[in-house]
């Protein structure tokens, strides 16, 4: 039964349906929370829409200009230092929530992007340049600079470990 439903609507459809069910349950158990969640969801969707447009644009451009595997020469096995630089700087300058970038990364992974570079990209998403002034305000210059440097360094450690534990191959 579950298998047939999954086949028909896909795993993503089942996932969305499960979340809707969770909302319905919360609606019955705690209607006040349910009611305050809906306008918040609306605000999130409005805030995230421009990021979705950017991600769509980036995917469109990569599909248009880098047909087949050519873009992945920057990011596949053997891409070396260039691959790390692209992944780390891409992670730092990309904006919006982390999960908005999953479709693009999934697409690039299918074309051969290494897990180590995907992990490094995702890790560096945590360095938010527009939010650095806020971090400085709360925790000071020294803390912000030290933390940011360690995050870049450990994004490489993270990538190497993810590569070893998922694809088993040597990181090049």
């Amino acid at each position: 039964m579950i298998g047939r439903v999954t086949e028909k609507v896909g795993v993503s459809g089942v996932f969305l349906f499960s979340v809707v069910v969770a909302y319905v349950i919360v609606g019955f158990v705690d209607f006040e929370s349910f009611r305050s969640a809906l306008p918040m969801l609306g605000r999130f969707v409005v805030r995230i829409f421009p990021v979705l447009v950017v991600v769509f644009g980036v995917m469109f451009v990569t599909n248009l200009f880098f047909e087949g595997k050519s873009i992945v020469t920057f990011l596949e096995k053997g891409s070396g230092l260039r691959g790390w630089i692209v992944a780390i700087s891409g992670g730092i300058i990309s904006s919006g929530p982390i999960y908005m970038w999953y479709p693009l990364l999934g697409d690039l992974k299918e074309r051969g992007m290494k897990n180590s570079l995907i992990a490094a990209f995702l890790y560096n998403r945590a360095i938010k340049i527009p939010l650095l002034p806020m971090m400085i305000y709360y925790f000071g210059w020294h803390f912000t600079v030290a933390l940011s440097i360690y995050m870049v360094i450990f994004s490489i450690v993270n990538g190497v470990l993810v590569q070893r534990l998922t694809q088993g191959g040597r990181v090049q």
């Binding site: 999130f44 479709p103 990364l105 925790f139 030290a146 470990l161």
Partner: protein, 145 residues
Amino acid sequence: MMEILNLEAQKQAFLKTTQAFRRSLPILLGVLMLLTLANTLIPKRLYGQIFTGNKLIDPFIGAVVGSVSGGNPLTSYIIGGELRYEGVSMLAITAFILAWVTVGLIQLPAEALMLGKRFAIVRNAISFCTAIVIAVFTVLTLGMV
């Protein structure tokens, strides 16, 4: 460069992108709904009440709480600032902020669906550990212990 002038190539690229997006949208919407629900159900004052004052256990608690939370990183800075004011150690606060932005239990199903189950689990587990390690390094470097 000729590719951009080719209408057929543009159409193909647009169709390919739209297809990939159509597959991802239910997952993205699901994650967004989950994050909203978590933000609504977890009261902000709860964060200050779960730290013990123990310098060894609190970084771990910080990383756990950061992992199950989600949303704008700015919220984690504000909560971190409040926790600091309440006397929670910088080790715990740093682990909390780092786990908030690098580990995502709420978006784990979406990450697993789009990037692979093994990848998502391994990446999040390693990010959890590195959140604590980086917190230790940062605090030791700045002499904040």
